[in-house]
Symmetry: C2
């Protein structure tokens, strides 16, 4: 019946924010089990007990962190005008592709946190949390592709969801394989995300196959 505190949600206090930030970086680095409350308290500059004052449990803290990360991620992805104008949608798609990769690379902690959550798929509560933005995001992207097909600057005859999926897959995999790519022979593109983005987009648009027409044009 008491009304003297507002636990768990709405971390208005300064301490709570420090906790959230410390927790995000540590959960992203070491995972849920690897990061201890002690670590988090120390990095946040608060006491262990204070964490349990603001958040009900370690899991509660983790969910709060995840929720904040997802919201942050969604905020970045949602920016930019809705693609109401089909005439501009071609530029928007390429722009999205590049900006999406930038967003992943600029927020590595948030990205890693969410990628971890996807990979675990044991924590059901976070799953549904993440699916919320993914569904919205993916649906919008599919819409852009379909619009491009209708406007004629993308060819028809393929499922727009396939291209949307491929765009995301390439960026996500670039992010997570980066440290390995940079040690791989022949993968020089791993050192310049800007030209990587442009070249991959071009490849996806033009295709890798020697469509007989291109031949004749050059011959």
């Amino acid at each position: 019946m008491s009304m003297s505190r507002q636990p768990a949600r709405s971390p208005s206090a300064e301490g709570a924010l420090a906790i959230l930030e410390a927790a995000e970086s540590l959960f992203a680095e070491k995972g849920f089990d690897g990061a201890s409350i002690n670590d988090i308290a120390h990095r946040a500059g608060v006491s262990k007990a204070n964490i349990f004052h603001h958040f009900t449990s370690k899991k509660g803290l983790y969910l709060a962190v995840l929720k904040r990360a997802v919201a942050h991620s969604a905020g970045i992805l949602a920016k930019g005008p809705p693609p109401a104008d089909p005439a501009q949608s071609d530029r928007r798609l390429k722009q999205f592709f590049s900006e999406h990769l930038d967003a992943l690379l600029e927020q590595p902690e948030t990205t890693r946190l969410i990628l971890r959550e996807v990979l675990e798929n044991g924590s059901e509560s976070g799953q549904s949390l993440a699916e919320g933005i993914f569904a919205d995001y993916f649906t919008r992207l599919v819409g852009w592709v379909r619009m491009g097909q209708e406007a004629g600057w993308l060819r028809g005859g393929f499922d727009p969801a396939l291209l949307a999926f491929t765009l995301i897959a390439v960026n996500v995999h670039f992010f997570q394989a980066l440290p390995i790519l940079q040690h791989l022979p022949g993968a020089g593109f791993a050192f310049d995300s800007k030209t990587f983005s442009e070249q991959i987009f071009g490849l996806l648009m033009d295709g890798a196959g020697a469509s007989s027409n291109v031949w004749e044009e050059e011959a």
Copy 2:
């Protein structure tokens, strides 16, 4: 100076194999910190102490598991004839793409274990372990693509490593995003990996853009 035991490597005993298998599945499920020696011992049907008899430490066990997974993975990927014959390389590339996805899906624990390792990139020892097969694998794949370009059934003008990367990225992301994809509106392809593979490959070959030539052909 004693020669009465062969610790850590060459798990010839029955118990050691049970431990390795239990550990692989638990590490894949919960990660290094999430899986406890107690869990592993219980699932393997042995005592905690027996684990430390066969493996020097938890980390030693983890590395043994990872090594085994990588070897297993490499075994699968290495099978099939080397692409000595350029004339057949076009079929090989499409076949690789499909088989690669099958391998990922059929060995989900191994796949998850290695993906985790890639994502963590804090465990340096495993990093170099994994890079070994990745480098070999990737180099071979790039070779196939380049061969295709020289043979003429792939167009020139793009970095072969880009296509190799994209093929792997699409498959890996399909694997790890599968549980989410299946809840996503419009992503019906998530339920049939076979046709997914074919359609994506077609998209990558033909491209998504409306290359002006295709227009004229159909008109």
